[in-house]
């Protein structure tokens, strides 16, 4: 049956579910959709797949308040109802927070940049500030990442649009970095930002940081204020 309505959704990945991979989430969502009995469309062919598009998934180990998907339905359903039905069928830690009927064609363009929050412990605030300053002074920082194809080298600096140290609690050896990264290929991830801070700013961490994607959206004057990617759909 053909797709008559597309619904876009923002979901959160929090708590212990931050350790789920993108593939894990895909399976959990597909099952939840089957359980919820919403009229999902399937692709044609021998092994039909539910029509779901995923965008810019956060890496395994990172929490997120701003993950996005789009699903195709064979009959119109109120997006709020879709959201509630899927949430009933999903486990703890994964939940749909917002759902709209797709109206704007260029959805991926709306996810121009991500705002990440990186919480660092067991490190002094001054060290973090110094590393951030040094990184921002550079034009290019080549980092390495181990992928399935082997070690990949690329520039992490170019995609970093803004970076600041926030809400530090120096007495506890605790600092929060906020970083805005442009989406693109290769995607620069929070661990790439940390690698860049290490190689350009000498910041070495002993305790793994808590990373959370706070938002995705179109860039505005203030890079830390991203525009809601559903804005055009809501008009």
């Amino acid at each position: 049956m053909p797709v008559v309505q597309k619904i876009r959704m923002r979901y959160e990945k929090l708590g212990r579910m931050k350790f789920s991979s993108h593939r894990d989430f895909q399976r959990a969502l597909e099952r939840a959709i089957r359980r919820s009995k919403i009229p999902i469309a399937y692709s044609a062919g021998f092994s039909p797949h539910p029509k779901i598009s995923y965008a810019n998934a956060a890496p395994t180990g990172c929490a997120s308040l701003a993950e996005y998907i789009e699903i195709g339905l064979t009959e119109p359903v109120d997006p709020e109802l879709v959201k509630n039905l899927i949430n009933e069928a999903l486990g703890d830690g994964l939940s749909i927070k917002d759902a709209v009927v797709a109206r704007n064609k260029d959805f991926i363009d709306q996810l121009e940049a991500s705002l990440w929050q990186i919480e660092l412990t067991a490190v002094s605030e001054s060290k973090v500030r110094e590393a951030v300053k040094k990184l921002l002074e550079t034009q290019e920082v080549v980092v390495e990442r181990l992928t399935k194809q082997g070690i990949r080298k690329f520039d992490a600096r170019g995609a970093i649009l803004a970076l600041r140290v926030n809400a530090a609690e120096p007495s506890r050896g605790y600092a929060i970095i906020e970083v805005v990264v442009r989406s693109g290929n290769p995607t620069v991830r929070p661990d790439d930002v940390l690698s860049a801070l290490k190689s350009a700013g000498g910041l070495a961490l002993t305790v793994p940081p808590m990373v959370t994607r706070r938002a995705q959206g179109k860039l505005t004057e203030d890079p830390f204020q991203l525009l809601d990617p559903f804005a055009l759909d809501r008009e």
Partner: protein, 646 residues
Amino acid sequence: MSTKEKILGESIFADLEKLLPFVNKPVQYVGGELNAIKKDWNQTQVRWCLMYPDAYEVGLPNQGVQILYEVLNERADFLAERTYAVWPDLEKLMRENQVEQFTVDQHRRVSDFDFFGISFATELGYTNMLTALDLANIPFDANKRTDNHPIVVAGGHAAFNPEPIAKFIDAAVLGDGEEVILAISEVAKEHKQEGSPGGRDELLRRLAVSGNVYVPKFYDVEYFSDGKIKKVTPNKPGIPYRVSKHTLMDLDSWPYPKAPLVPVAETVHERASVEIFRGCTRGCRFCQAGMITRPVRERSITTVAQVVDNMIKKTGFDEVGLLSLSSADHSEIAEITKGLADRYEGSSTSLSLPSTRVDAFNIDLANELSRNGRRSGLTFAPEGGSERIRKVINKMVTEEDLIRTVTTAYANGWRQVKLYFMCGLPTETDEDVLQIARMAAEVIREGRKASGRKDIRTTVSIGGFVPKPHTPFQWAAQLSWQETDRRLLNLKDEIKQNKEVGKSIGYRYHDGRPGIIEGLLSRGDRRVAEVIEAVWQRGQRFDGWHEHFSFNLWNEVADEILKKYQIDLDWFTTRERNFEEVLPWDHLDSGLDRGWLWQDWQDAINGAEVEDCRWTACYDCGVCPSMGTDIQIGPSGVKTLPLTVV
């Protein structure tokens, strides 16, 4: 680490979380499955930690653990959580950071529980048990445990000979666990309410006296100077001479798991499984499962339909497997498959039936189940290549039946047929094994004729046979790995040499060496515990994974340790036993009469077959009268499924 005081039942997730960014697939350690049950520690009185001793991806789907998890948690006063084997990357970090073995449900310490129940589907989980005990700070030696340590209980098929792990466990449960785990918990609850008089030993004594469990330390084993066992005797008053298996009757009143766990992580079985019957009386002589789970107890068509419907609703799985030891043998299997196929026609739900029976009826079932889908592959298990050897193992299939069945499959649009065999069966000759190549060639020739196509394929899959306790082959000599490998390579050559059809025949084989270690662990006695402990000390883990399994290490350690008893690896594996020899598991009662087993072993050697007692007269294997159990089969006469399509 912090010096803060441990609180019983507290979550240690905060400590674990710091390690997870550094390990592979961290999601396997966080739990959070759909239908998982979270209970308050302090509101419950008897607490079980259940373990499947393999990686989460293998252990999570295990039916046994899921059933017991639900059965226990349904009781307000009992609690059950789950733990699985951690991979070496996390094990190392846990040691460095003093993080204990934890449950995935609420990340409680395994050492905080009253019982630590481990389900051994195979013997290859023994080293993983030691890792878990060690990470839980539980002493390996059951005699060194205090009242503050959990009671370690082994279950599952391997527990029918728990002697190789007797040192490490406090108790073993034989047979179906549903009722007995509740009975054990009741005894423990009462003991606790009395203020735990006599501590752990008194609780174990009560459990042993009640006949619920086998407590190895209440039995002494004496040996002859030639290494054979002289006798096994209870060393305390009131302890039974033999411990019997438990058999659950009326599966319809135990429709578990009602709400199967649906993991976020990827696992080996991504489907809902419904057990349609338990037990099998086909009488295949190599098959331990068929021997120790007698008699056949069917779940009725009505219950199967309800369970399937409920599972799909509760899980969102799109595949349902109808499980049992030989699913096509259910007395109403045709009605069940047709009913389910009708009900789910046009939906995305698919059904699967592990098919092992080699007859045309099986093809009808498979056709029914694949109505809308692809007819990709079918699997049959003739097990033996020649008619002679199939008589020895009591797999009653003629060459003619087999060819007819397989050609029917090809004619019905199936493109690929897998054939399962074993190598190293008692009395086997080179000729019996080479016969497999001729059978496969015939399958392709006839299949091409029947289907009119050249692109049909068959795959021969073969591994070494391991004799198991409580089967007629428990006395048999296992074939050496060298000889197994030679026969397997011979067969490979024979298949590949066939210019006409060789390219249409795939060949997959498992080398003979792991089977020898499995043989040691299957038919071993208490002395084997030292070998298990020593290989573990030298780093052996995850024996079921070929990339982790080291035959050389096992072999070397076994020789070193067993030397002092003047026995060796061969003594446990390739040596044939006689009727007089006391076998390590003789004091454990699977219901099978020892005399009947011996007679069946003699019949095997003479190539005499025995019929299935479901359809012919009872041949007194010993199970039904002595165990207070009986065959429970249909047909019920219900032809249509009572539920409507949703």
